[in-house]
Every structure is written in C-alpha cells, then in structure tokens.
Symmetry: C2
Subunit: 514 residues, 2 copies
Amino acid sequence: MEQKMVSPSLLQKALGEFIQLDEKITHYSSILGLVDWDQKVMAPKKGRNIFSKATGTLRTEIFQLSVSQEMGQLLEALTLENHYLQLDQVTRAKVREYKEYYQKSKAIPADLFKDYSILTAQANDAWEEARDKNDFASYLPYLEKIIDYKRQFAEIFGYDEHPYDALLDEFEPGLTVKRLDPLFAKLRKSSVELLNRIRKHGLPTKVEVFEQSFDIDKQKDFNRFILPLIGFDMQAGRLDETVHPFAQTVNIGDVRLTTRYLEKNVRSALFGTIHEAGHGIYEQQVNPIYEETVLQSGASFGIHESQSRFLENMIGRSQEFWHFFFPKLKEYFPEQLKDVSVGEFYRAVNTVQPSMIRVEADELTYNLHIMLRYEIEKALIGGEIEARDLPAIWNQKMKDYLGITPGNDTDGVLQDVHWSFGGIGYFPSYSLGNLYAAQILRTIQKAIPDFYHHIENGKFEIIQDWLKENIHQYGKLYRPNELIHMVTGEALNADYLIEYLEKKYAEVYQLDKR
Amino acid sequence: MEQKMVSPSLLQKALGEFIQLDEKITHYSSILGLVDWDQKVMAPKKGRNIFSKATGTLRTEIFQLSVSQEMGQLLEALTLENHYLQLDQVTRAKVREYKEYYQKSKAIPADLFKDYSILTAQANDAWEEARDKNDFASYLPYLEKIIDYKRQFAEIFGYDEHPYDALLDEFEPGLTVKRLDPLFAKLRKSSVELLNRIRKHGLPTKVEVFEQSFDIDKQKDFNRFILPLIGFDMQAGRLDETVHPFAQTVNIGDVRLTTRYLEKNVRSALFGTIHEAGHGIYEQQVNPIYEETVLQSGASFGIHESQSRFLENMIGRSQEFWHFFFPKLKEYFPEQLKDVSVGEFYRAVNTVQPSMIRVEADELTYNLHIMLRYEIEKALIGGEIEARDLPAIWNQKMKDYLGITPGNDTDGVLQDVHWSFGGIGYFPSYSLGNLYAAQILRTIQKAIPDFYHHIENGKFEIIQDWLKENIHQYGKLYRPNELIHMVTGEALNADYLIEYLEKKYAEVYQLDKR
C-alpha cells in the first residue's frame, strides 16, 4: 500500500499552482463583470443576443476551472492536515471559498444540475409573462419544480436542523433558521407595533414635496455632485443609468454604479445612488493585497447590504445629512423646495407608507416585506406549505403585517424575480443588512462619538476610513459572523435595529408628544 | 508501418471539433474586442492597470487555443487531401485563416517570440517618451532591434522575391513588392505633379471657414444626425468619444465607433465619424452566417480601409454629398456658415495643404505620406538602409514629395506609433484602401449610373445595399485580391485613383480654367 508522501516542495508547488488558478478565475470573473455591466448599460440592442453566447462560453469556462480535476487535486493537497497547518490566514480563506464551491458543485449530479439550469432559464421567461398578465397559475408549474429541486439540493448539501439552512448558507455562510428565527420574530413584532403607532398617532409628513417635477438633468448633476463628497472615488468608478439600479465591480479600481432617474420621483435616483454608493465604496476600499484573488469582493450578501443601507439610511436619511445637503439641493431645485424647511424635508424623506411593492418600501416596512418572504420560503422548503398555497398566504401576511392586501398577484406574490432564478434563501440578506447596519452604527458611534456631527459638516472621510479599517479592507477574508463579532464585539442582535427605528420614528412622527 | 486511415466519420468529427474551437476563439475575441473598447472609452482611470492583466490572460488564452495541439491536429486532419476536397468554400476559408496563423506562430521559436513581445512593450513606452522629448537617439536602439527581429521573421516566414513581402502578407495577404512597386510609383509621380500644379495654379479655397469655433454639443448632434442617414445602424452600434478615433466590432449587431470633437476644427469629428462609419457599416453588413466564426470580420486591412475611405472621400467629400447635407449643417451652425455657399464649402473641405503630419493630411497628400513610409520600410527590411539613417531620409523624402521639411523629429520620423509595436508592413494598407476605393467607385458607377444623383438626394440605401451585396456580406471569405477581382473584374490598378484625383482637383482648384 502506498503512503501519501508530503514534502515542503510539494506544498510550494500546489500553492503556486493554486495562486495561478485563482488569478485566472478572478481575471475571467473580472472580465465577466465588465461585460455583464456593458450589456445592461451600453450595448446596442441588436448585438446582445449573440453576445450572450460569448458570455455563456466564458461563464462555463469559469465554472469548469472551479470544478476542474486540477482544482480538486490542489484543494486536496492544500487541505492535507500537515499542509493546512502551514497555510497563512489569507490562503486558508481562499481555500475555504473554492472548497465550498467545489464540494457543492460536485455534490449535485451533472444531469440534475443541467435540468435545473434549463428550468430556471425557462422559469424566468414564464415569471415575466405571468407577472405581466397577472397569471399565477401559468407560473405555478415552474415554481413547483424549482421548489422541488431546491428541496433536493438542501438534502444533497446537508444541514443540521432545518433544510432551509442549506439554502441560507449559499447567501450568508453559516446562517441558520435557529439563529434567524428569534432575530426576525422580534423585529417583526416591534415593527408591526411601531407601524400601528405611526398610523394612529403620527404627525403627517409633507411627503407631497416629492410629487413635483424635478428636472432629470439637474438630478443627474446633483447625484454626481454628492457621490465624491460621501466617499465614492470617481477615479475608480462610474455612475450610469439603468432601469434596475445595481453596483458592479470590475476590480478595486473600477466599480460601476447605476441609478434610475424619474422626473416625478426625485427620491428614486437620490437614495438609489446613495445605496449603490454604499456597495461601491465597500468594494473600492478592499485591501489591494486581495486584488486578482477570490477574496477581492465583500464578505457576504448580508454584509454587503449592511454597507449600502448604512449609507442610504443611517447616514442618508439622517437629520444631519440633510442639514448639510439640503441647502445644496435647494440650489438645484429652488422652485420646488422654496416653501420647505430642512426639518420638513428630513421628515418627508422618512415618510412611512405601507405599499404592496418591496422595492418601493420605506425603512420601517421594508423589513416586514422580508419577514413575509422568509416565512414563506422556510415553510416551502420545510414542506409545510406548497407553491399553490402562496397567493392566499401572501395576501394574508400582507394584511397581518402591513395592513394592506394586494389587489392582484402582480402586485403580490409575482412581484419579485428571485424565485424564478432559484434564489431561495436570498431575501433574508436584505433585512440582515439592516440588522448588521444598526449594530455597526452603535459601534461606530462609540468609536467616533461626534459621528453625526461629522455628517452635519459634510465630513465623511473619517467615517469611511473607519469602515475601511474595520470592515471594507478585509474583503472576503472573514466569514460574516466572524466579521460582525470582530467589529462589534458580539453576535448579531436585533435590539440595535429595533431601538434605532423606535428612536428615529418617534422623532420623525413626534410620537412622544402626541 | 502504419498507414493513415481516413473515414467519413473521422472528417465529421474533426469538422465538429473545429467548428467548436472556432466558436470558442471567436467568442473570446468578441469579448476581448468589447473590453478593449471599454478600457479606452469607459473605464475609470484607477482600474485600467490591473484590468490589463485580466485582458492579458484572455489574450494569451486566445493565442494558446489558436496554436494548441488540438488546433494543429484538426488542421492536419482537415487538410488531408481527400478530406480537403470534401470541404465547402466557407470551411476552407476558415481553415485557411487558422492555418496561416498557426504556421506563422509555430515557425517562430517560443523564446524568440517572447523576447520580441517584451521588446515591443518596452519600445512603445520608449517611443512615446522619445516623441514627447523630440529625442530620436533614445528610441533608436529599440527601433534597431525591432527591425532586426522583423528581418529574422521575414526569413522564417519565407518569401519568393523580397523579404518585405513576408511582412506585407500579414496585413494584405498575397501582396508583394513586385505588385506594389509599380502601383505606388505611378501614384506617387502623378500625385507630386498634381500637387505642384495646385500650388502653382490652383484657385485658393475658403479654408478659413473651418478656423471658426463650432460648439461641440452641436457637432455631436450633427454627427448623430448623419450617421443613420448614411447607413450606419444605431441599433447595432454606438458612437462615443476618444482621443484617437477607431471602430471596434463586438459582433455584427454591435459595432462601436469613436470620434474626436475639436471646437476649433469641425472637420476632425465630421470626417472622422464618416470614415469610421465606413468601417462600421462594412462589419454590420457581414452575412450573419459568419457570426461567431473567424470569417465575421472584413477581408483585409486594405479592403477595410477602402470602405472607410470610400465613404469619407468618394462620398463624404463629393459635391453631391454637400448639396444634400450643407443646408442641414447650416441649421446647426447658421452663424459660422452664413456667408458660405455650398460650392465654396465643397471646395473648402477638399483643400489641399501639405502638412508634416500624416493623420492630418488631405486626400491627395495622404498617399505621399504613405509612399515615403513604404519606401523606407522596404529598404529597411531589404537591408539597404539602417534605422540610424531614418531622420535624414525622412526629411529628404518629405521635401521631395511634399515640398516641406519637418522642423523636428517629433513632427517627422517619430510621429507614428506603428513601428514601435512591430507593425512594419501596415502603412501600405492606407493607400491600398484609396486605390481599391477608386476602383470600386468606377464599378459602382457602372452598376448604379445615377450614383451621385442618389447621394445628392440623401439616398444612401441603394449604395449601401450594393456594397453589402458585392463586398460586405462576404466577411473574410475571400482573399483581398480575389475579392477585388470579383467585384471590379480586374486586378488592382492605380489608374482609377489617379484619374479620380485629377478630375476632382481640376474641379476644386479650377485648374483647367487657369
């Protein structure tokens, strides 16, 4: 019987090859990021169909490199116990990232994965059509199959307690139902109560200020004016226009944001841009030592979302932010804002307005949209409910949490794209982002006691430096739970967000005085 | 001894694999085209350096696929005599393209090629610095080495008569000194004579009309206005801005043009855009059956240049073109053009003005800049002169042909980038483009007798359809000499360009009347 021989030179060789393979995969991913952006933002209409085949070729190549025999052998060599012990922290993190992907990809039989890929491509078209025609029944067969696949995948990937854990792990590594349930239950309860108090006792805001026309060219100028001031490096990024705003990283020196300008809704571009800038600044501030490696992106979907929401909500919807920026905004729109005070404007941007559509929700009701989706996904994967039950369950939960009922499925269960591409387990990231953000806010206010004073003076550098030092620089080095513990000194906790929301809306809606 | 067995199924297998490999290479090339465009036109400054490593990885992959063992075996299988006889014309053309590249690449020893690649990268920087500092001596050692490599490559590639033939072949397959010498000699002689006649007897044009300010936003609007009218499909392309204008094909449905706007020189963007549109329309009109194959581009550098110059000069600088467009241009610039008649404007856009710089040259003197470079390259590769002699030879030829002498090397021998990247053999393409274009003009005027009448009425469709039918649709199917023979019924001939120039400038400068 042969015994596995281990020599330092073998480790060095494996390490060298692993670094090269990682670099190649990262180079291709960087190119893929750029061309994906291009096809959404720049490409002329007639070329896109054929070009999607070219991107398909590159995407397939990235997948094949990631699950290649070479990768398998390198991961095996690097995780031999006496090798692994010699690896530094950065290499271990890289190995961790590739190993998880490799194992999950290899665990699913090739035929099963192929059938699933064909299904999701078809399901996306079916969803679009169903949404446009308000026809849930036509989409149901696809959704049923997707859920069936996802239940199978959960069994294949494995889990300790709840099958949904296996799916959550794809978006927020290490997260489980057991950890999430109490956080979300507490947040849901307090949010519903707060919403009811606002409805009963809240002093109405002057939200009608946003119902005026705001010239789009001026909106563009204003967005370009604030981006560098809040910390986005325009020499290392761009801002363009799309229907669905997003942030796309090409590399640390090239992060591209998009936003959407609506003449009748100045908030859309404004807070959309600030939100995407939060994602973008995170990626711009990753330590260059991770450039050209798998670690060059953010820690997880939830941590990423915490950075966009921290900038959009904790900073961008604060009183101090508008103390600084409102006089500037008034220079761009003197006519529209002539009868509005900064206090009124601050209250207006924080208007709570339950609505059918998640992406239009305010800071408070947004989480209720997520709770609803989380509960449905968990029950679907756990086998407690079936896809055919969804419209009824959806509408009931909307009524329970938000007090409104969608008039049709287009504005209800059919509104989101996520399930059609198999993204079950994705939604919780959005509220996790809010939870992380509030916990980070508490910590940063201890580290920088005059935090809001800096904002009031338009000094964002000290804040962005702190985020860089404590979060951004690490890229994907740490797991999200490790990172949040490192940054805040404790595990994720719902209390900070609950307190933050209570305090903010008491102020905005003058709840204590009424 | 084994005998090579040939079976139809073996051919089918090789064909299938060849098509797949071609598709993969073409997909990657398409992506590379897009990202090259992006880095010049869109990418933020700080990301470009790192991204160049990603494109380097993809470029290397394309090269490796093209010279891979797999490619070698497929080419061998497909060119076995009894296989080759069974291939259709399209497949033969694809095999021809890959085989030439494969053989040339394989012929150069790997170490030699690597050293050469390093040299050209360094030489480019050295050239830029030398040009900026007017310091030919600092660039000379690089240029000497490049010429030395090129002389070696010529020997490796092989040639029948002149070593320069081996280099010409890279840009215009099949072209030789023997064919080119008489064409260029005739053109040079007649151009010098015509230039002297214009200088002595020509009625001055009102070129000062272009010395006014033309608002850049209005220039942009006008360029966007004419592009679709002259046949460029804006649904299958874009127009952007760069310092050095170019056309970049992503695929047949996605062809991207760039231009440069100068407030004090309205001609720069105008004729630059029309020129690039000529390249772009060629690529947009390639038959979609060549999409995702090596044949999806134009036939050669020279043929491509013929299409850009045909549109820029034969059409865009014609009297009839301005009969149609001048009233429109006047709407954009009423102040600047208020005292100018269409006839004066036509004469002004055809002003002959010998200048030091090739890229600023007019339609007549442009060819003299090329003759000079051709003669120098031929003598360098033939070993008749050495790089150190160039400044003196350059200045002498400038005096002989154009009657002017550069005051420094920056405006002389250092002005072009081509030699620094090893592009020796490239320059003749530009004048070949003019020769082809004039010969095609003669043919199209027989096919469409009221050719200029259509232009006068802004009807470009019938002309673009003819170009599509006779030239564009074929992509890279035919060799340039085959194509020009097919289109015009004869081999390339200098008489048509000479006659065209004589006639045009007699008219513009009223030479017959004076």
